[in-house]
Symmetry: C2
Subunit: 209 residues, 2 copies
Amino acid sequence: MKISELSRTTGTPIPTIKYYIREGLLARGTPTATNQADYDESHVQRLRLIRVLREVADLSVATLTQVVAALDHPEARARADHVATALRSLSPEPGPISERSLDSVANLVDRLGWEVDEDCAGYQSLAAALTALEEHWPSPLTLDQLMTYGRIAERLASFEIPEDWNPSESANDALTYAVLGTVLFEPVILSLRRLAHVDRHRRLIADRL
Amino acid sequence: MKISELSRTTGTPIPTIKYYIREGLLARGTPTATNQADYDESHVQRLRLIRVLREVADLSVATLTQVVAALDHPEARARADHVATALRSLSPEPGPISERSLDSVANLVDRLGWEVDEDCAGYQSLAAALTALEEHWPSPLTLDQLMTYGRIAERLASFEIPEDWNPSESANDALTYAVLGTVLFEPVILSLRRLAHVDRHRRLIADRL
DNA sequence: TGAGTATGGATAGCAAAACTATCCACTACG
DNA sequence: CGTAGTGGATAGTTTTGCTATCCATACTCA
């Protein structure tokens, strides 16, 4: 497949494709002559992924570099760790983290019985989020409140990854779907929460009259 | 209070403050001479809010324009609508929306018994999120699955806005807290979900051995 | 076979966003 | 009185994410 066809099937301008190649987001085609290279299905897939992450999830090219590094680097580790690494690559380094928040997270994870690594997806960004909360929100979040959030997250996870879930054939596909699922489902959850808040506000105010 | 003090107490450089004023995010000080103006506590508050929304939530200045418009524009509408408007201003216009997705949202809201406006916070962005899902995720989301998400969102909302919740004294404070709470708590929820996913992956893989 | 278009690779240019710096006429303060 | 600070305007800077141009070569098809 030539670059023009790659461009046509993915709807991405040729200069943009060249740019992604320069930035290392997309592999070079296999060269067939000094100025000729061949692109295949894997390029189409990758390019589609890049476009979704850029346009739907609004990830920066710098973050995408991390993501493709995680995808292309299926080292000899357990499958679960892969997913953790891929997901972690989605959030470009978190803000400042306080000791207190880090303790809270450790405590929470312990009490929930989760076995997660300290540098896995969500761990540091949760600590950063709690630090921001500490700093800018009037009342501190108690461990009990955090536990409630944690159990809701558990409920979400067990609903989203059913008991009979099977990892895809290829590890690469598994990672791709983990990444894609994360960025596609998060907006759904957040929008629903906002909607639920609006409804609850309305309800409580109506009750009061 | 002079601008230098405003700068010192909020840690924002003077040129940046001037920039925010130019952009309409911050009110001008009350002039006391041709080149002298007075800033007060409300300026400090607003500036702090701006910094949190910019640095923690990474909102664009354009979006902030919407937010402050919502905050400064407490028209004669019900309190709940205010909150809905303020929250809506947080998500700068959503991507493409399909008919199907819009129907799904209407259906869902109906079945959940929510009474929310079609142009309130979350409604359009949920439709956009579902459209993206339709387009980029292999299996479509059934209404039952959506309902499950919806009920989890309800649980979240009723936990976060307790029965005895009281709107703050001033409407402006209420809106500010609604906005601030939204951007501060969303990362907590998303991080926890990612953590829960990692744990569940690990668990399922462990079970399989 | 040769005219015209396409290709890969490099380099330069561009537009938006979010500041940042400079300037100027003035004022406030010690 | 003089030095530092101020409000307002205008211009410059940096980063990001593309686009556009160039050139030597190669493919395409009349």
